[in-house]
Symmetry: C2
Subunit: 490 residues, 2 copies
């Protein structure tokens, strides 16, 4: 991929000075258009040491309107970062719709460097590249424009450049001892960079290799590449997207919910005995998990009035309040709405050893957003894979991930709705929306079934809770959490 | 303060069961009313070990609508937290308007514990309490309702409680070895807790001491206290606040801006020489600061077209892109708007060793918000003290804080506005707003003068930059930053 970037391209000073004003005017206009179209621009500046990455970042700060521009630089992991999946810090740095995020150092840095230093084998490198590809695809499908720039220097040029920078006292600081260390590994570095670039050079996030020997050529090429990409993206945006199709699941499907025995109950006495026993056990396990730095992510979904809240409280009252956090998911804020839908859940990923309980979750995408048509068909259809990938990253970090669907029968729901209306301090829990949702029972049942089938994985299984008897449901959840925690602690 | 909480208060089971449903209905209604009135509720649950803080938190989770409730627990400092002022984590945890933030452990914990353990002297304790008082006053003035609950146990009762908890295998986990260690220091703990409570028992954030011996009495008292506070606050809210007064500063004041010699210039040659020299110096200093973990906060304010952007770029192009971050301040997001105005700046406080450059800042409160009447007179008037306190906390953390007002003459501004309109890639920089602001020149000049007078402190001084000659201004800023950094590094 790098052959075309060793041809000795140059641009004269006169040509440069003629082009820059036009380029700047064009970039500013395109930046404004992206803002209006609410398209986030993700720009990756990578390449060889000494190729002028830092200078390029500075130049773009001058050419773009800095009010819409963010520079993201990633240093060694902090302890907050080390305790989360690798992509946590990347997710939280993504630009909001309409903004420009420059990534100086990115999700490519670590795999390429580790592969170059033989800290990562071929198979792991391959997996890392697949993860990158999926990550970028996900962002592109969400509407992001991704421009990836690789500033290339030949081995000879790199040596020359580093030597020159080092000679001049004014630029000596730009050369790091680690740059020379990297230089010795130039061939390996180029080999694996090339492999990474080829594997991730996709239609939705293509690479542009820029010959970096001549400063003016480098700057103009970077500017032109960005301008082209922005203009093309905006032109494509105008293509009309087909209207959202309401997905009505076939009515005759046997759903996973049908298999649940809702007749199971527990006596008061049995309930009290097992509750005390399981809460004590959960308490001990949660403290061991904390000591061993094993985090848990528990997801609660369920029919309205299925008793999620009461079940969650039986878990939390058994644990030290310093160890858990309940995250109720309501309507997103505007910062959240301005990002891909998983962004707001990444914000709540626990540090090591903590338990995070999501009262409703990212599954809203394939439940309410699907049924109500808030998400387009292509959006909720690809969400299954996006969610699996997300949870897979949590599991890889050693987290215990378990998802509960609290199930009740349609009759039982009606009984509870009526009961809630009678009790003053429960009335707030029942709204017109609950009655509306109830009318969509069958559509939801289809969506739930598909959700469970597509996203119940070995690492992050769904557990369908028999909720008609609240006592039985609570014990079932407590038992499951204890069993899963025990396994995760090992 | 604790005498009234050792009287052996109890509530019978019958009375409890009669009161709870009413209390719950009342609390839910009040919570909804606070949401509608956009009042954040900050609730502190403190007190003796074993007094039932954790149980109270759990009970309130049951009584409130958990969708609007956040529990904040603070553990040992993470390295991200250690690198920032103590209050950073408290600021970031504050509930948004209309939400309820429960603080289980708070800004009180550390001073009381450290004073009890003799890790903090009387004078430092006193300063810590003043800081708390100011912090709470600031939040209350911003409209927050602050309820502080202290669950009290007598020495005898505490011993009894801890022993009882420890005996029962189901509750043994609630007793921590550190609880017994604290118990041995009971008298000192109570003495300093009482001092803290008395010092911070203010009209805007009063303490309620709750006798915690009887569980039912404790719960009902906590519930009643909260309900009263919420209802009273809402009743008070209805008092009409006088309309914002436009503050027109007297016209004949001699402002700090008048003292600036705008005639100073630099030749191209002199500029090039000093620029190269100072950028090299800044580069070395910024790397030393990073090694020594000294952060910098640089604030840039100035007239429209004063050349802030170009000046900032002369700083950033001298530094490693991994060490600085430019934060342009535009309109707040809705999450930001839902908090006290300083909240969004706390979000950007750098980790140790980094440089953060604010392109516009918290001074908007006493500049544009004052002049345009977006902030009420009482709001911008108290902002000077709030800002000084904020910057004081940054300085205490060892940060280098410097604020630049880039000054130009009114004629020079006009010349630049016209020039910008002529250059295509500069047109975006000039808007109708700039022309409107220009008409308010005198009002701004009064506001700038008062700002500089009231907020230029020894630790965080204002520097007025003579901006008519851009070269001179850039060198002045670079020189100042270098000098201040040198001093901060020591």
């Amino acid at each position: 991929m790098f052959e075309a970037a060793e041809l000795g391209h140059e641009i004269s000073k006169a040509e440069y000075e003629k082009e820059v004003p036009l380029l700047r005017a064009g970039l500013l206009q395109a930046q404004r258009d992206l803002l209006e179209a609410k398209v986030p621009l993700i720009m990756i500046i990578s390449g060889a040491d000494g190729a002028g990455k830092s200078e390029t970042v500075n130049r773009l700060h001058e050419w773009f309107d800095p009010r819409g521009l963010e520079t993201n630089v990633f240093g060694p992991l902090t302890d907050e970062e080390r305790n989360r999946p690798d992509y946590w810090r990347f997710w939280l740095s993504l630009p909001a719709r309409g903004r420009v995020g420059m990534f100086f150092g990115s999700w490519y840095t670590d795999p390429i460097i580790r592969r170059t230093y033989k800290q990562m084998g071929g198979a792991a490198f391959d997996r890392a590249l697949s993860r990158i590809e999926f990550f970028e695809q996900q962002l592109a499908q969400d509407g992001a424009l991704i421009v990836k720039l690789w500033l290339h220097l030949s081995k000879k040029q790199q040596k020359k450049r580093l030597t020159r920078l080092e000679k001049d006292p004014k630029t000596r600081w730009r050369v790091n001892p680690i740059d020379w260390k990297h230089f010795k590994l130039y061939d390996r570095f180029v080999k694996y960079s090339e492999e990474a670039l080829q594997r991730t050079d996709t239609g939705f996030a293509p690479w542009t290799v820029v010959e970096a020997t001549d400063d003016r050529y480098r700057e103009i090429t970077v500017g032109r590449t960005l301008l082209d990409a922005m203009q093309n993206h905006l032109a494509r945006k105008k293509i009309v997207i087909p209207p959202a199709k309401q997905a009505i699941p076939p009515g005759d499907v046997v759903s996973v919910l049908d298999r649940v025995d809702l007749g199971r109950t527990l006596t008061d006495k049995e309930y009290d005995r097992r509750l005390a026993q399981l809460q004590g056990k959960l308490n001990r396990l949660s403290r061991t998990a904390w000591e061993k730095k094993v985090s848990s992510v528990l997801v609660f979904e369920g029919w309205d009035a299925a008793g999620k809240g009461g079940t969650v409280r039986r878990l939390t009252s058994a644990m030290d309040a310093r160890l858990y956090r309940v995250v109720p998911i309501a309507a997103p804020t505007d910062e959240e709405r301005a990002h891909q839908y998983l962004w707001r859940f990444w914000r709540h990923i626990p540090r090591a050893g903590r338990v995070t309980i999501f009262d409703r979750s990212w599954y809203g995408r394939v439940l309410v957003e699907r049924v109500e048509g808030f998400a387009r068909e292509d959006e909720w259809k690809r969400a299954y894979q996006e969610i699996n990938e997300f949870e897979d990253q949590l599991c890889e970090q050693g987290m215990m991930v378990t998802k509960f669907w609290v199930h009740i029968s349609k009759d039982e729901q009606l009984r509870r709705f009526k009961e809630r209306q009678k009790t003053e301090f429960k009335q707030y829990k029942i709204t017109d929306e609950d009655w509306r949702n109830r009318k969509q029972w069958d559509a939801y049942e289809g969506a739930i079934n598909e959700m469970v089938v597509r996203t119940s994985t070995r690492g992050a299984p769904w557990v369908i809770v028999a909720g008609n008897d609240k006592r039985f449901a609570r014990i079932q959840v407590l038992e499951t959490v204890c069993r899963r925690l025990e396994k995760a602690i090992g």
